[in-house]
Symmetry: C2
Subunit: 528 residues, 2 copies
Amino acid sequence: MSAPVVEQDAIEAARARIRVAYDPGLLRQSAHALADALGEHLAAIQAGQSAVLPWQSPGEKVRDAATYLQENVPRAAHAAARVPAADSDPLPAPPRVDRDEKVHLFAELVRKMLQHGLNLHHPRYLGHQVPAPVPVAGLFDAVGSVTNQCMAIYEMGPWATAVEGALVERLGQQIGWTPGQFSGLVTHGGSLANFTALLTARNRALPDSWEQGLPGGDAAPVLLVHSDAHYCVSRSAGMLGLGTNQVLRVGLDPLRRMDPQRLDEALTACRQKNRPVVAVVACACATPIGAFDPLPEIADVCQRHETWLHVDAAHGGSACLSSRHRHLVDGLDRADSLVWDAHKMMFVPALCAFVLYRQASHQFETFRQDAPYLFDPSAPGLAEYDSGLRAVECTKRAAAFGLWGVWSLFGPQLFADLIDTTFELAQQLYQRLDEAADFQPLHVPQCNIVTFRHLPPALQAAPRERQGDFQLELRRRLIESGEFYIVSTKIDGLGALRVTLINPLTSVTELDRLLTTLRYHGQQLLET
Amino acid sequence: MSAPVVEQDAIEAARARIRVAYDPGLLRQSAHALADALGEHLAAIQAGQSAVLPWQSPGEKVRDAATYLQENVPRAAHAAARVPAADSDPLPAPPRVDRDEKVHLFAELVRKMLQHGLNLHHPRYLGHQVPAPVPVAGLFDAVGSVTNQCMAIYEMGPWATAVEGALVERLGQQIGWTPGQFSGLVTHGGSLANFTALLTARNRALPDSWEQGLPGGDAAPVLLVHSDAHYCVSRSAGMLGLGTNQVLRVGLDPLRRMDPQRLDEALTACRQKNRPVVAVVACACATPIGAFDPLPEIADVCQRHETWLHVDAAHGGSACLSSRHRHLVDGLDRADSLVWDAHKMMFVPALCAFVLYRQASHQFETFRQDAPYLFDPSAPGLAEYDSGLRAVECTKRAAAFGLWGVWSLFGPQLFADLIDTTFELAQQLYQRLDEAADFQPLHVPQCNIVTFRHLPPALQAAPRERQGDFQLELRRRLIESGEFYIVSTKIDGLGALRVTLINPLTSVTELDRLLTTLRYHGQQLLET
């Protein structure tokens, strides 16, 4: 009977190593080390120390990350694994339990992560629509990660479910909806949120499509979308089986907003051709220049044509929270569905994207399914709280903990402050660009997005394509220098620079410096 | 000129409040408070203190969570917002900057979150396929949250991209693939991962579908899937426009594994009917009883029929990492695509789900799109590292930080230990159930999933439906008692109890107690 003993010894050795990894003392000490590392890092970054982006080629970084991953698991162990347990090699003795050594290594790994990331809290991060978040939001989030609070069914994350439900209520009220009549959920990102809402719209417009698939041919159903809609909208058509060719782009007015008159004409044309319309997709705001659609007029048109109105308010939904700026989203309450990313203008870490439905019952039209071990007929009243019934994800993170924590700790005034401050910074930047002979702002900013071109004198007579390409090359040079982080886009097919003022600690001094730095790198670029 | 001054005063007041929220000292002190709270909580929970699940109705919990969310943002402020800034009401004075008070409130909120969650680290959590994670994994994750490292494009999360790339390499090697020939990415959960892979398969099988939509009618394309496949597979068919009716379920053998012979027949029938096959979906393992499909035989059949083989190895992929158990996933290297959730049997917090492609180039067939501000023609070589080209999400979290940290800190032996220990616990539970006259195990466990029924003497002659319903009622009573957390399922349409040994600190003593506790509640239930 020696065989089982050897086996039990191996299991006991494994358990000993597991106890080291699950030691509450290790968690506590590591978390204290993390506290110091994060505090120190944030202070340095906010003070503008180090590069915004520590540029290194991705191949090098991957190799660097791989060096930490030991590869000592036996790979060709098929044969060994099939012999009886007693004959398997005894596992190595458990390592010396040295908590301090682990904490030391933990701290080293954290430093590595902090040194090699993009520094969004740097005052010269003027980046994508991804904010320098309220730092403690990430700590609230960590409560969910360490304890692994999940959703899908209520039981698995009771507080996560509660927090999400409470926030959906608050956001719906901010939009102007009546409590009890609307519904919503959190998804992992704006793209998935838009997809979820458009799936709901598809299932409403084409009730057979869930089970039978989509009708093809001349009567193929269409999506009518803002010409500058985010690429995830067109992708959604591809994913949903509608086909990207069935995405009809509605023309814009001179301010790059969807033109309600053209929308009306497009909907009339679809009706004449007997083409079902899955949804109209408007933007609040669209990404290229941050233009907010005239939602009341668009809602009137959709109502007349009895068409589902979806509003991608991923970026601009938060304007609801500022008395100064909420006029930008007048009419948002008339959307059938909308997307609102808290991880954009509510300044919490990604991802925390809300899908909201004006009519509460629509949330259950996204899916129909039967997962017996998830949705328990012994407690049917709980199903309403089981997010798995409504979300593409089955298991979801407790993605709203950060938002709930920040709202609870600072109150909603902070969100208004963040919006007002960053929108104001955009006006400051616009003024500077407008006054400079070698910069060309492409629009008056409505929010905190500013798109422009730098045109040094030597380039002002160049062909427009050359001018556009120059912007992309200039940006590449700028971000690899580590001095600023900005992005680029194309407007009417030509390259442009694009800034989102999404770090509230950016100062006007940095905006002046941005122009100076672009001039410097522009000159260097022209000389090469 | 008094107007701009008032406006600037309001902005300055907002900035002052923002500085309080972004104070590195507040982050540091709060993180230290978090360290103590988490350490204390984990010690208490691991010691089995408090209920596994602090049961409370969801409605009550939502109301509780809402009480923390002040609602003082002016809602009907449209008129005010449109008057010139100078006329708007002055904002209230900034609150007294009291860091200690904020830290105190932070700690209170954290305690609230910890008190109201599900305690996965409790030794009597035997729950869903969601682990009691290695605690420090959540701290590595927090580095990403606090600093908001994201993906979509390389620049936004250089280290997140590096870590994901390095881990994809390691996992592919564990499967047995040749470095450089495969590819993969992380998505937010197994459901989204399966959807992503099946979208890729759809676009390969039906190259026109992305742009033109799906062909309907008699030639509707099908998915051939394991009869016990997770509900997300059928959902994927609904979402992708194939229609859930086009999901053909392949019969199982007596061990609830996909039968290769029946698969062969089904594929032959599809060919005879000219119905395109998008993919075959096998399981490693299927959820109800944790059955692993015979992948080599299934791969042979798929190869003969030239059909895409997708393996949902969300739970079982990790068996690769244990020399004892990797024989369960023999043949996994022959899958065209597979899903492997690190947030299941690699014991990191949700979500960290890998989609892996045997042939590297397939990763770029999931989508075709053009997002000028994301994918920069000035640096085409970087596109390979831009996850947005391959993921349903645009912005992604740095979802692999926890896994990278745990692997780096403890080495891969820890994963083998976790698998070996929890699989062994399942055998221990099975033995106990098998020996008890009033328990009926429904299968010999292949991994750490055990499905069974409790049949007290009074119920042994009852109709099978009554026996099944009893299991669901028993579970409801058990989990609301807070004494254990287990789940339920249906096997052949009848209710059953289901346990996943997914907390490695569960002991055999707890398993004995589970049976005793079920007997107790079963008796109570019979008496009501």
